[in-house]
Amino acid sequence: MNKNTRNINQFQDGVKDALPTVFGFLSIGAAFGIIAASEGFTIWQIFLLSAVLYAGSAQFIIIGMLLADSSITSIVSMVFLVNFRMFLQSLAVANFFDKQSLVSKILMGSLVTDESFGIFSLNSVTKKSISINWMHGLNIASWITWWLSSIVFALFGKSIANPQNFGLDFALIAMFAGLWILTTISFIKDPHENNRNAILAIFMTVIVLLVSMMVFSKVISVLFASILGSLFISLLKKESYNDN
């Protein structure tokens, strides 16, 4: 097999592995399109938010805050806060693919999302073969689904009665549930891993999440919980390294 066919095959594998995100993106992209259109945003504006900004929850926040006449500074600060977790996700992805061209880096970085990061980390912990082209396939398929579903449903969505009745809005939550259980299983099955560590990490994360939710917004709580949960377990493990 020559190099080009192999690259194309890897890209196609990435597109196939994006299928679980496609379901979630279809329903949430549709919801975004319908809501934004009904609030008076044009198709062109909806397309720009979905294709250029490409940041699910931040898009909903921008729509809401623009309608509420919030200041530009407060909207942009909120977007920064909501999207900051992507810094950590990008760092993990970048650490894995450390040798790639400038264009490839920019393309891969621009399209990192919770969902593509989830599929990436699941495949990396289950030791499935992943490559730069696979990652691009996964990212680009997710990206196209997102903006396409938001503009298509912005155009036609109003004629569809209550998508909630079919449970479709639940697809994204179910996908996070799936990513969570499968990531957990692979951490627990990893022979180099102490089972106790994975369970402790999950436990700490949930505790921090719940405590933080009493005071802060959900967005901030997710960020706190994932940082503190991971920091806790890595410092604990580093201690045991030093002991040996």
Binding site: N95, D98, K105, M108, I119, S221, A225, S234
Partner: protein
Amino acid sequence: MITSQPFYTVLIFATGVTLLIRILPFFLVNIIKFPKWLELFLHYLPLTMMTALFFDNLFDKTSASIFPILNFENFFAIVPALIIGYLKKSLILVVLVGIVCMAGIRFFW
């Protein structure tokens, strides 16, 4: 109707900030040598981030109580999906079972 001027200003700045957050790490990894604890942090991050993103959906913040409240509808729809995920190790099956269970709960509840 949204006036265009703040829309485009917000779009440009929000996109700029988001791209910086997303792309900067790709250049940092080649400049900085990560200490051991940071390598470990990144190793466990997928687990804790997926845990936080998932459990976040199971609880609601309400004005009635300071404590987050379990969302029973989501909880009962997700349990069968998680069991299938555990048994079959398939992401797409978890999504499909979750959708079907949620549709069922909303229909009968």
